[in-house]
Symmetry: C2
């Protein structure tokens, strides 16, 4: 299955399985059942069994799945065997909180650099990473674009941050900025938006009352 | 259309239109075209026109849409005319960053309270909101459940935080906690997961190379 483009929903489930299998490895669990994954991932056991039939080439329903082989297989499908470095643009509240929270349990991602344009912030160290001036972005990341960038700047600075990243060849951006951002074709830009989630939750609350 | 359950994808787009229309109001813009919304929301103009034909009862294609009427209509569909208060469980890095970033431009949401169980953090003020002991949750929110809770605690505390909220009647939870959490039927639990987003982006990068 490696090499095939998989739907976002499936990737999301595989990502959850991988996280759960890493935890099982840490706990010293060598074999897991589909029920184990179902319970811990909050995914129906029917869906888990179906996924594992497709992706879990090494496991057998009934006798359980070898944790390390299943994890290896899932990481190969995800492409996360060698996770790209993650850089953060913007060392404000959100950027700092991300670094301080870290990426443990994610299978090898780490924050390799953080950038800001505020002289008061540049040079500070956050969770062991020193804030570098945004002007040094090219020097640090090169032009291969083989990294993921998280954009956590103020709304009015989002587009120029993204333009800058695209110039460095970056093709994978995660934005905490509320403003919609333009990227050329071939660049994947995703948003983590608290306010949109709040609207979705509010709608579900109101629907309970009136729908 | 008010009162109907709308798909999540549609709510997401309506949420973006609403944010954009609020900004137009602030900027003193009274009439907008579908192209205006398309450009600023990063949504194709065909999709915008289709949405507005369905939801924008007050507007007319060609002559533009009255900003305040369209916004009012969209907020009625979303149910966000009177947004519920938002409380935060966990005043660590992420919880603090959320409060400090605020909810401007979201049409009236605000963080009304933040809770923690760490005596070193309780009593601190973050962006004007004082951190309260988690034991006082019931006293503060009552048992009506008419609020949205954001859970930003460490992974091993997620489930007990959620159990506690459900006991208070809470039916709308947004979790920053990586561990999957169990909620009873009727409770909507959504996740904002950086690590899953990183997996989705990594997969898209690898696919560009090999798919």
């Amino acid at each position: 299955m490696a090499g095939e483009k998989v739907s976002e929903k499936t990737i999301r489930r595989l990502s959850h399985y991988a996280r759960c299998l890493r935890k099982a490895t840490t706990d010293g669990t060598a074999i897991v059942t589909s029920e184990y994954l179902s319970n811990r991932c909050g995914i129906s056991s029917a869906a888990v069994r179906k996924d594992l039939a497709v992706f879990g080439e090494f496991g057998k329903q009934g006798s359980g799945y070898n944790v390390s082989e299943l994890l290896e297989n899932i990481e190969r499908i995800l492409g996360t065997c060698e996770p790209p470095p993650v850089i953060v643009i913007g060392a404000g509240n959100i950027g700092s909180a991300l670094l301080e929270s870290g990426l443990d349990g994610t299978g090898g991602y780490s924050y390799s650099a953080i950038f800001d344009n505020d002289p008061k912030i540049i040079g500070k160290t956050i969770a062991g990473v020193t804030v570098q001036p945004i002007d040094e972005l090219r020097e640090v990341v090169g032009e291969q674009g083989d990294f993921i960038a998280i954009v956590a700047v103020s709304p009015d600075e989002g587009q120029s941050a993204v333009n800058n990243l695209v110039k460095m060849g970056c093709i994978a951006i995660l934005s905490f900025t509320l403003e919609p951002l333009d990227v050329p074709g071939g660049v994947v830009l995703r948003y983590l938006e608290v306010s949109t989630e709040l609207d979705i939750l509010t709608h579900s609350m109101k629907c309970r009352d009136r729908c």
